[in-house]
Each structure stands twice: as structure tokens, then as C-alpha cells.
């Protein structure tokens, strides 16, 4: 169990109030902000429905309140110490005020990542291989990720799959599923189009913010394949 959430005023006193306000303004500038936050009745329905609130010192109500009050100091604390506990299940969308605390958190996480907050990097520690997979192959998880050392709590069953992976994948009737590195066969053209989307939407800058080493590896992989496909002018830096 994590330690209790410390919400005392100016907990992050090393960060200026102006910086906290700047980050809050970045959240408010998101096009979704005014569709996901209308105020707060303080009824607690979101907390009652929230899975994370049962296991962590976590409250979607506090996050919605801090956002509604535009409490830049508290929002900064929550952005660092709380938002990564959210399960993103959106059970909190039951809010009678029509708030979506889950989506407020999505926006706060995005701002945290975009600004390279240390706590965002910590929350995503060990997650790099997943980001690599999704960005490079367009698939979040793949058969070859089922390795005993990655899922020790899933038991010997994972080793059995890992040991038989090649044959068991060939023993799948759909022809598209005879793969181990991706969930299904994806054409080269599809992957190139995905890389172009990452390029045009600035997503790689977000990756750089949380993991510079991973960013370099991804850029190498993507630029090489793009060049092979005739996109010599696409540069991620």
C-alpha cells in the first residue's frame, strides 16, 4: 500500500506558483476541458464508483474539486502524486454534474508527460518496452511479450506459452495470426502510414519528454523504414 496522499499547501515549494499556474493554464487550454468539467456537487458518487479509491489514497472528487476551483497549487500536487493511480475505467462518468474526472486526469497526465515531470517518468518506469511496441508496430502487446520474467505472478502457464509459442501461433486457424512479434500481420504500407501520423501529430516529442533513450531508438527505427519507403524528408528531430 502506498503512503497517504499529502495535500498540504505548497508541498512542492521548490516549484514556483507561476510554473504551477502555467501548467494549469495548459490543462485549461485543452479543447476537452470545458466538456469534462462543470463544477462539483461534492456528492462523492465518483469516489464510490472508483476502483482506485478502494486500494489507493486516491479521490476523483478531490481532483474534480481542485480543477473546478482552479487551485493551481493543489492541481500540481495531484498531477505529481495522484493521477497515475487512476484506472481510466471511467466509472466516475456517473457524475450527476456531468463531469468526467477520468478525462480530467487524462488531460493532466498529458500535461505532465508533455512537460517531462519527474513523477511522470517514474510512473512510466518499466513501461518503455510497451511504448516501443505500440509506436513501432502499432500493436500494444504481442505474443512474444508473454515471457515468464515479465509476468511471474501469472504462473507457469506463461512459460508453457513461451516454450510453445511458435507452434501454438501456427496452430491458429486465421492466417493473419501466425505472428509472434505483433498480434497480427500488418502490411508495411500500414506501418508507414502510422509513422507519418506520429510525425504529423508531434507524438514523438511526448516520448522524448519521458524517455530520451527510447525516443532515439524509435526515431532510428522509424526514419530507416520511412526512408526505405521513399520518405527521405521526414525528420523527427
Amino acid at each position: 500500500m502506498k503512503q497517504a496522499l499529502d495535500l498540504s499547501y505548497n508541498k512542492y515549494s521548490d516549484v514556483s506558483f507561476e510554473e504551477k499556474e502555467r501548467l494549469m493554464e495548459e490543462m485549461k487550454a485543452d479543447d476537452r476541458w470545458h466538456h469534462i468539467l462543470y463544477g462539483c456537487y461534492e456528492c462523492g458518487i465518483c469516489v464510490a464508483a472508483c476502483p482506485s479509491a478502494r486500494f489507493y489514497d486516491f479521490s476523483p472528487r478531490i481532483i474534480a474539486q481542485a480543477a473546478a476551483r482552479e487551485d493551481a497549487d493543489l492541481l500540481y500536487t495531484l498531477m505529481n502524486d495522484s493521477v497515475w493511480d487512476c484506472s481510466q475505467c471511467f466509472s466516475c462518468d456517473r457524475c450527476p454534474r456531468q463531469n468526467s474526472p477520468g478525462q480530467i486526469i487524462t488531460v493532466m497526465r498529458e500535461v505532465a508527460v508533455k512537460n517531462g515531470l519527474k513523477t511522470a517518468k517514474e510512473a512510466l518506469e518499466g513501461y518503455g518496452r510497451i511504448i516501443y511496441k505500440i509506436m513501432a508496430t502499432g500493436s500494444q502487446v504481442s505474443p512474444d511479450m508473454l515471457q515468464p520474467n515479465a509476468f511471474p505472478d501469472w504462473g507457469g502457464h506463461v512459460k508453457e506459452i513461451s516454450d510453445n509459442l511458435d507452434v501454438w501461433r501456427k496452430a491458429l486457424p486465421p492466417e493473419t495470426l501466425h505472428t509472434t512479434e505483433t498480434g497480427w500481420y500488418v502490411t508495411d504500407k500500414t506501418i508507414i502510414e502510422l509513422y507519418l501520423i506520429w510525425h504529423m501529430t508531434g507524438v514523438m516529442d511526448l516520448i522524448k519528454g519521458v524517455d530520451e533513450g527510447l525516443h532515439m531508438i524509435l526515431v532510428d527505427v522509424m526514419e530507416e523504414r520511412l526512408e526505405e519507403a521513399g520518405y527521405d524528408d521526414v525528420n523527427f528531430d
Binding site: 475505467c89 497526465r109 502499432g138 504481442s142 498480434g183
Partner: protein
Amino acid sequence: MIHLPVLKAVDREFEAKPEEAPKEDIREAVLQLEKEGEWIVPRVPEPFMEVKTKFGRTKKIPVEKTWHHKSCGQCGHIPGYSTSIFWLNRAFGLDYHDPTDQTSCTAWNYYASATSNPEAQAAVAMRNFAAAHEVGYFPIIHCGTSFGHYKEVRQALVHQHDLRRKVKKIMEKLGKPLVMPEEIVHYSEWVMAMKDRIAERQVIDMSHITATVHPACHYHKLVEEDAVYDSEIYGAQRTAIVTGTLQALGINVGDYSTWFDCCGFGFRHILVSRDFSRSFAVQRKIEVMIDEVKPDITVTHDTGCVTTLDQSQFAAKAHGKKVGLPVLADSQVAALAMGAHPYKVLQLHWHNTDNKAFLRKIGIDVEKTWAEFEAETEKIKRGEKQFLTWEDAEK
């Protein structure tokens, strides 16, 4: 742990009135934007089926000409889930397309890490929809998160002109039109709409089976007005998805107090913080189901839910928790009822929690069917055949 009593609206008939719905029908705005030349709206191919959604609106479900937007988690870790969906289509002789010009929706990563943005997410969705349109098939979404996320993307693209303009520009650079399907359809809606046809072809009696149902959060909580409801099921007080399918197969569906709770997946948690996922899945779902219902199986309709509920039981067993409840997807149960092979089609060896007692209870010879599967894998190992084919699986 305190369990709340299950509240049922037995003495009140809920009458859904679409004209009084508190939420807009986004599909009207989608068609209006088509008239304004903003995008192409492929129609649900005829003949289609119809289901009712939360506020009594009608939703069209295609029978065939479906473009199967696969799930990375299903295909990667529980491939019998998607194989069963395809098997059902084949069993009915339906025309479907299993594309290779498809990426995942990438929303699992977005909800887990926020290392993306709305523009990229919408562009990924629209690229996939355009790919379906190019080959003349209608998208049907296998993953609950992809389904919920694409509906959020649809709302954002309708209401945010600037986002629509940016994504249109990206599509132009990819040489693709902006395409928004008339309906966004989850495969479990197709299974439910097909339930009577499936029941007609049922060869395995399941009337002595009790199941619990876990409705996936991203199916019925994200853009809730689009989820399937039925006045005959739970008095339309919650989504009828999966429950309607199982009841049509004669399965007794038991109610339990934590039905609204999520499975514990958590997106980032299942990958890098699984202590939460395990605890929640076991303590708030599996143990409650066993305590209150004593089911033979629990059935759900999403990638993350099958994974979390199934895989989390292993470690909990070591702690003496009440576990051992097999977890299946509705497509697997439907295929099994129609006689699909438990290992060649359902691929149950990829699941973790022991399901042999359930299989034996419905009269399946576990040893024999496993030996049949192993005979096929031996042929692959010896190089006598390259793959297990559909013909092998349908023998």
C-alpha cells in the same frame, strides 16, 4: 468486506423514450456533416439487424460484409477470442474481411501512459475507418476499449471543428478521405443480435450452467447512450450485453452485487503495477461472484477483462483466496455451444484458470479434444503441415 444487496427494479417498468433522451444522438450530427461534405459516411450494409440502446434508440448491426478491427490484446495473448468470432462468421457462411491494413486503436497506450494526443488518436481511428471503406467492408470492433475510444473520437470530431480540420489534413497527406461509419459497432453486439440464430444451431446443452457476466467499462460507461439495453433484461436498468446472449443459450445468469465494478485492468496497472489489478480482480469480482452466485464460468466481452479476471487468479490461489473461476469471452461460449473445438478454435490452452471442470460438465471429453489438438501441433513440428487451417479446425 461489506456487500450491498442487489437492487432490482422489479416493480417498475422502465420505458425508454428516445425523444426524452438526456443526451444527443451523435449519429444525426454525423449525417449532417456528411451533407455538408465534411466526410464520407458508409452505411451499415443491408440486410442489417436492429438492437435498442440505453435511451430506446435503434442501432443497426451489420450481419455480414464486416471489416474486423482486431484487438492487440486478444490476438496477442488470448487468440481463441478472435478466432471464435471468425469461426462464428464462417459457421453462418457470412462474408467478412480480416484485414492486414489495420493498426490497433493505440488507446490502451493512451489511457495507460498519455504519450499521445487527441489529434494522433483521431488520425489512427480515421486511418482504420478509411482502410475499411477502401475495401468496401463495414468496421466491427473487437476490443471494448477501441469501441469506446472510437466513440469518443467520433464525438470529438463532430464537436471540435479545429480537430476535424487537422485530422482531415493528415488524411489528405495519407491520400485517404475522412470516413466516419454510420454506426460504431462492437462485436458483442453482433453476437447478441445473432443470438437466436446461434441458439438454433446449438449442439451443446448449457441449461445446467450458471454464469456471471462482467460488462466491460469501456463498453457501457464510455458514451453510455450507445450501449445495448433490453427491457426484458435487468428491467433495462443496466446493459443487456452478454447476458442476453447467454440467456438465449439457456445459461442461467446469476446476479452479483459488484457487477458495476471494473475488472482491475487499469491500463498501466496490468502492465507495470499489477498488485492493484490482482487485488481488485480477485477481491471485488471473482470472490464476490463465487460467494454470491457459485458460477461455473464468468463471461465478459473485452480484451482487458478476460485477461485480468483470468490471469489474476493464479497468485491469489497461493494466498488461499476463493478463486478457480474459468473466464471466457461471449464469442467463445457461443462458438462452443455451436460445437466449436475447445482447443483448435477456442484455444483454451492460452487461458490460465483451469476450465476443464466446466468443459466436462457440458459433456466435452477434455483428454480427447486436447489429444486432437496435439496431433495437429505434432504435424506442424514434424513439418508435415505449415499451419492449422480452418478446414482442420472445422473438421
